[in-house]
Symmetry: C2
DNA sequence: CTGTTAGCGCCTTCAT
DNA sequence: ATGAAGGCGCTAACAG
């Protein structure tokens, strides 16, 4: 049996407006009625119906989270997981909830399919949107619509390199820390380095390589651009054989701890000692993730969880019309030296 | 500017009911009006307001997912991640979305705080709920309410050992495969085994130990019950020193690949060879996760993703009043032999 | 096949 | 301080 504001009102012997006032404490109500209403609410376990409330207020207290890069990778790549953790944390204390929006598979029916996250916005299911990884096709196809939405002032925060002048934005210095990784290795005397990058970052690749070539011209970089965020183990095995054993790379840069772990396992299999025979430098998105491996791996720490927190807070502030003093927040990357790099 | 069904109707020169009928294709409409309406919908980028629709139908096409064990662990333990993947997959093709429900921190204000997932149910935000890990306090405190909801026929599927006769349920044979792990080791000649279990599984511990003692009496089990789903590295280091080096365990059972990875790294640090000096047997929730390590670790595979799929499908079938032939699905665990166990 | 209309549950003026 | 009443956008009878 569904209980509505009416039931509460009648049990408490007041009108529904009084109940409503108490719910939203939008006016003072006499102590007596107050108590009666509270009693009735508890009695019925009353909770206001969100459809009705939303119909009036047009707000759902839900925010959408859309990471396009394939459903599975969201739950495998620690970068995304840390972002989610951060977002989740904010949701918990701000009394919002997050809706994970996944692209619905085949909607062949309509040719020009509206992506789900736009649908959710127009349907008012969500009060705001957190986006990351806009290199994905489904978004590029709809870039104009996304922009339009941002321009209309719809609350959107984008995590990553800014794609549009409007909207809120949170990012780390991807290009910069990739260059710094090479610098670190150069400073330890390395000259030939194997560098992994994900194809989804391919719009960064040129920038990174150009800067390396101009700023650190004496380095020989072997670039491996791969489809996913981390490589299947047997590919990595081949890569190590090719670039470390055959071509003589003395160091490898991993994109994340997942990569680093596989690299270490492959090296163990090939009986290549780290760091004695090959050095390893990684990126870590979870703080101290590098200490879980052996040897502990030196890393650039990208504070992904903080970025998630920042994104969510920014979004909610904006939604609730609070002051948003910055529309774009940059997060610092920190180098943590451990024991996986050998000084040549 | 918000566009409503009325705008569409007037531009198409029809009544709102005609538009509604087309939206829900709930009756046949003349070709001509059909086209006019479609045109108007595209023109306005019309999407039906979910509040209004929900107010009428009392259904949101969202399902709640609540895993109590602390927000962070959800995004760290591959068991939960695989469940999420499975659920997510179903959401995508069933046109539902999932709301991750996290306990809101301190709501000291009300003493007897209604947990958020119950709130969401009563507020009609979600059409059904997927729960896992009910050992958590916040749920135990509200066990009566949860049961009441299940008895009222509210759609809930519980992932794990059934806690109540009502409701839908999906589970793996936790007790059984834990015993089988010990059997596998016994069959390879091991007599002293270090076994990790999570505190959140402590209601299983007695059952597992009793069965081991009665079915495999010649084994000496050292049980380590830990707070989280996987141990901090330095704890593991101490454990290995204590149980393997000092007390002479010849094999270790890990609760998941996260554990196994740390164990391998610790063994590397202590220069203990796997499997030559100590054998390792793990549980894996992601298929073939054990092959990413070196040596590849023998595992009991728990099909967590399939369980997530099963849970979500069961739930949606139930919500949509389709036939639910089984109310409880058991998933088989599979032993995969690799290279981490030495025959003594 | 199509239009008119009565709510769905809540919030919010407007009176009192 | 409180109650009555209109309307948010949509669906589903009901009438034609």
């Amino acid at each position: 049996m569904e209980v509505s504001i009416r039931d509460v009102a009648s049990r408490a012997g007041v009108s529904i407006s009084t109940v409503s006032r108490i719910l939203n404490n939008t006016a003072t109500v006499s102590e007596k009625k107050m108590l009666a209403v509270k009693e009735a609410m508890e009695y019925y376990h009353y909770e206001p119906n969100q459809f009705a409330r939303g119909l009036k207020k047009q707000t759902s207290n839900m925010i959408g989270v859309y990471f396009p890069n394939g459903a599975d990778s969201i739950f495998e790549v620690s970068y995304y997981l840390e972002l989610l953790k951060g977002i989740e944390k904010v949701m918990a204390y701000q009394n919002y909830s997050m809706v994970l929006i996944s692209e619905s598979k085949e909607t062949e029916s309509r040719k020009k399919h509206t992506p789900k996250y736009l649908e959710y916005i127009r349907q008012k299911r969500i009060d705001g949107l957190i986006l990351s990884g806009l290199t994905n096709k489904s978004v590029e196809d709809n870039a104009d619509v996304v922009w339009q939405i941002m321009e209309e002032g719809y609350p959107v925060v984008y995590i990553g390199k800014r794609v549009h002048k409007e909207g809120l934005n949170v990012y780390a210095q991807f290009e910069q820390y990739n260059v710094q990784m090479i610098e670190v290795l150069r400073n330890s005397g390395h000259k030939k380095v194997l560098l992994f990058m994900a194809r989804s970052h391919n719009h960064y690749v040129k920038g990174v390589m150009d800067r390396i070539h101009s700023e650190i011209p004496d380095m020989e970089i072997f670039l491996r651009v791969t489809d996913s965020h981390f490589e299947p183990r047997d590919h990595v095995l081949q890569d190590i054989k090719e670039y470390v054993l055959r071509r003589g790379c003395t160091a490898v840069c991993a994109r994340g701890i997942e990569d680093a772990q596989i690299l270490l396992s492959v090296c163990a299999e090939l009986q290549i000692k780290v760091p004695e025979q090959v050095s390893l430098l990684s990126v870590e998105h979870r703080y101290d993730a590098g200490t879980l491996l052996y040897p502990q791996v030196s890393s650039f720490y990208v504070p992904a969880k903080d970025m998630g927190v920042g994104a969510a807070e920014l979004l909610i502030d904006y939604i609730e019309n609070r002051e948003v003093n910055e529309t774009s927040i940059e997060y610092e990357t920190k180098y943590i030296e451990r024991n996986s790099i050998r000084r040549l």
